[in-house]
């Protein structure tokens, strides 16, 4: 049974990575036209707003399977407080930070009406940090990323998101300069 939880933890980790890639990419796409060939900005934004419903189940499955897996030895505290594990403190701690940030981003989005727009925007920008920490967590601790195919796809997704993030930052800076 323990092997089952271990397999589920690995598979759901990959699924959570893909779900987060979809969430971040659809967040970037309306400004960068990254998915303009596929759909309208309205449709892409609708997918982005809906993406927590794929990110959360995958992330929850990942952490619950790790909690139940006796080999991984992950405790409830490790889900909230990073760098507390008995091994791989950095690799697993980055995953904890990523999980915390994803939860913060999703909760503040659900509470968006109660927050000012600038406050919500700064909270939402934490998703970039969350993605980077999740990618590093995957690279440093992902058992399946030892496979060249899985590692190649993971790197390709991260590079694409990095490229469109820089493009979006460049556009935002250009708009800010034009206003100044």
């Amino acid at each position: 049974m323990d092997l089952f939880f271990w397999e589920v933890a690995r598979a759901s980790g990959l699924a959570a990575y893909v779900a987060l890639c979809i969430a971040v990419l659809t967040g970037l796409a309306p400004r960068t036209q990254a998915l303009g060939f596929l759909a309208t900005n309205r449709a892409v934004r609708a997918l982005h707003d809906w993406s927590p419903w794929i990110v959360l189940p995958a992330a929850i499955t990942h952490v619950v399977a790790l909690l139940l897996d006796t080999t991984a030895r992950i405790s409830l505290v490790d889900l909230v407080v990073p760098f507390q594990t008995s091994y791989g403190q950095l690799a697993i701690g980055l995953g904890t930070i990523s999980l915390d940030l994803v939860v913060i981003v999703i909760v503040t989005t659900w509470l968006r009406r109660a927050l000012s727009n600038s406050w919500w925007q700064w909270m939402h920008r934490l998703s970039y940090v969350g993605f980077v920490t999740m990618f590093l967590h995957a690279i440093l601790s992902g058992t399946d990323l030892a496979s060249p195919v899985i590692a190649g796809l993971s790197w390709a997704a991260a590079i694409a998101i990095g490229y469109y993030s820089l493009e979006r930052a460049g556009r935002s800076l250009a708009v800010a300069k034009a206003r100044a």
Binding site: R10, A11, S12, V18, A19, I54, Y87, S141
Partner: protein, 84 residues
């Protein structure tokens, strides 16, 4: 595309994007499950929990007895060595 001409967006509706994202996430989960079940032990995995230490300490208390797999016989040999 000339200036002033609006870039056309793709035709996929929002609901189809949502379905595709669910299918993609589930596909990765299913493929990952299949891959993990056939590659249970990855020796070059970046993280190795201290399972090896516990199994090696458990192994030091038990002993393994090796027995010969070649059995002897009293029958005469069917081959001979020629001598000059």
């Amino acid at each position: 595309m000339g200036p002033g001409r609006k870039k056309r967006s793709g035709p996929v509706p929002a609901w189809a994007l949502k379905v595709a994202s669910v299918v993609m996430t589930f596909s990765v989960f299913g493929s990952g499950l299949g891959y993990a079940s056939t590659h249970l032990s990855t020796t070059n995995a970046p993280l190795q929990p201290a399972v090896v230490a516990s199994t090696s300490s458990a192994g030091s208390t038990s002993t393994t007895t090796l027995t010969s797999a070649v059995r002897t016989t009293t029958r005469t040999a069917v081959t001979k060595t020629a001598s000059s």
